[in-house]
């Protein structure tokens, strides 16, 4: 095996585990949940085989797993955990606690429907419902991107001191086999320096965290958190550029695909991006001027980049595999907000597609493009199966 070119056939979750292994976290609290479990199982195997030196904490719940992640991080250890669906829901309180504590945890969440009723299907509502918790959010399209993004996420999180969650979808990505290139450890070590935070829980330093503060201090703390979040746009862009220089693979914080002269641009995230790429290729072959905008970094929302990309496009069609009752598709909401005030900006169609994990094919998307091109958008999201 060539050290620089270690190509392996693995599913999306195992690709994540290889990324985690390269990041060399010191503490990994874990709790199983389908379809995330293969990630932590693989990490446990790496540890048992001596390929990873890590404190694994077999917690009794995701809530405790996240609680342990926060303090381990504040004690100066690099940490990782993974979850999905109900597990992420149970963590909710601690997600806010983590960002408040400025703990640069990296977590992988495999997007899965939230009960009730029970389901195991790809749907991004679980993580999107955590969009206001102060975490950096990345959405990935395939296993290679997930592996690469885990390492980028550490780099960004530890630079801005905010936690980051990286997502791919249940089964479509988590359990699909693909050829993945595993970077060399020495390259990763150069990209991701050891984690040595200035502030930490250490009797020699004597600093505490979490004590009651007054209103003024709370205000300053929230404002600083917001400033750190804003800085992520540039830091994430730089982290991706350097990753590309190192490995030849870059993704951008957004990606424009065949957007030149497009009359309509599809905007989506996660596994739907791959399907939409096929739809765009097919439509372009037929002469339909359509493009695609992939949103990879969702928090902070890359408002400026999205505005630049869509400013002169007549129409936008957002595809949401997620749903917020009362407001519609999450990405649709974000897009409308991002484009607010753009002079002569695009009309924005919002379609709820694949919610609950229903299958959406390139042909389905092509049909939606035709419909969107010939109709006037309405403000709310529309159910499209």
């Amino acid at each position: 095996m060539n050290e620089k070119n270690n190509r392996i056939l693995v599913n999306g979750n195992h690709a994540v585990a290889y990324g985690v292994k390269l990041a060399q976290p010191q503490v990994v609290p874990i709790y199983p949940i389908t379809p995330q479990t293969p990630i932590v199982e693989k990490i446990s195997e790496f540890q048992a085989a001596g390929e990873m030196v890590v404190e694994l904490v077999t917690a009794e719940s995701e809530h405790s797993a996240m609680a342990a992640c926060i303090t381990a991080s504040l004690t100066g250890a690099r940490v990782f955990t993974a979850t999905a669906s109900q597990g992420l829901m149970l963590m909710h309180e601690m997600l806010h606690y983590a960002s408040g504590a400025r703990a640069p945890i990296v977590m992988f969440n495999v997007n899965r429907t939230i009960g009730s009723p029970w389901g195991f299907w790809p749907d991004q509502t679980d993580s999107l419902a955590q969009r206001d918790t102060g975490w950096i959010h990345y959405y990935c399209e395939h296993g290679q991107e997930s592996l690469d993004t885990v390492l980028q996420a550490y780099r960004v999180a530890e630079k801005v001191m905010l936690p980051a969650m990286v997502m791919h979808e249940a089964f479509y990505v988590s359990h699909a086999l693909d050829i993945v290139e595993v970077p060399a450890q020495k390259d990763v070590d150069q990209y991701l320096p050891a984690f040595n935070p200035l502030h930490r829980l250490d009797p020699e330093i004597g600093e505490s965290w979490g004590n009651t503060v007054n209103q003024e201090m709370f205000y300053r703390h929230r404002r600083d958190l917001g400033l750190a979040m804003e800085s992520v746009i540039d830091v994430a862009q730089e982290a991706d550029t350097e990753w590309q220089e190192l490995t030849g693979r870059g993704y951008g914080i957004i990606e424009k695909y065949r957007c030149d002269d497009a009359e309509l641009v599809i905007v989506t995230m996660g596994s739907m991006v791959g399907t939409a790429r096929d739809a765009v290729d097919n439509l372009r072959m037929e002469g339909v001027p359509v493009g695609l905008l992939k949103v990879k970094l969702f928090r902070p929302f890359p408002t400026e980049a999205v505005r630049q990309a869509l400013m002169s496009v007549p129409k936008v069609m957002v595809l949401d595999r997620n749903f917020a009752p009362g407001t519609g598709g999450f990405l649709h909401q974000e897009l409308k907000a991002a484009l607010y005030g753009v002079d002569d900006g695009p009309g924005v169609h919002g379609y709820l597609t694949g919610v609950g994990g229903t299958n959406i094919s390139p042909n389905n998307i092509a049909a939606l493009v035709r419909e969107a091109m010939s109709t006037t958008p309405i403000a709310s999201s529309v159910w499209k199966g």
Binding site: Q26, A68, G76, T212, N214
Partner: protein, 289 residues
Amino acid sequence: MGYQINEEKVFNSGHAACPGCSEALAMRYIVNTLGPDTIGVVPPSCIAIISGPQPLSSMRMPVYQTTLEASAASATGIARALKAKGNDHTKVVAIAGDGGTYDIGFQSLSSAAERNEDFIYICLDNEGYMNTGAQKSSSTPYLAYTASTPAGKPTPKKNLAEIMAAHRIPYMATATTGYPEDLARKVAKAKGIRGLRFIVVLTPCLDGWGLADNAGPKVSRLAVETGVFPLYEVENGEHYTLNYGSKGTPINQYLSLQKRYRHLNQAQIEEIQIEVDNNWQRLHRKFST
């Protein structure tokens, strides 16, 4: 026992506890015995208030304030990170109330005990949610008045000491502030052991129990002498040692100092006496083995 309390000054005056609070007294003996090479974990409780508002701190050691249900998980994270970093000297202590221990935090505590995580967990047990205005917890005793059991709690106190012993952790002890040497000795003993060490400290609350400002120590001693709260240690879930047990003092001497029991009639007092006697008998059998 002849134990000499040996304090390093980690806990300081000027904290925000009610004057005469037993929790503050307990914290003094705990952290002054552990010394400054310690990292503390404190959930919401009177303990958190006593720890002090930022940027002040009553303790000269790092303290992480966590969420109500996560003390044991938070302590786990610190202990594991220290281990990962090769630090084998810094102690980790979680100091939580009974609400944060018997109730909402029990799941994470039980799991940490099962994993035998390397930290000390101390429950300051004032038998209710005092920081939120004295509501019942599962540690509140039978028939005690609280803001959420105005007619008296209809069920008995959960026996957490025995539940923790049943986890077969290396060390479990009960203590109370009326016996400071015993408390400090137990903390010192716990400090010298590895794995999950658990101490439940009965800390009479002036406000929640309806006590005179100076009654804390006296009520604490009566809790032991009446057999309500025997002081004992259990090693590895098996080896029981009695430190201070019932002297057969009638229960009414304990109850009558506390306004939370003033609604009781004679029959109810007798009922409590029988319950206390039965509990003491049951526990006492374990010491003879």
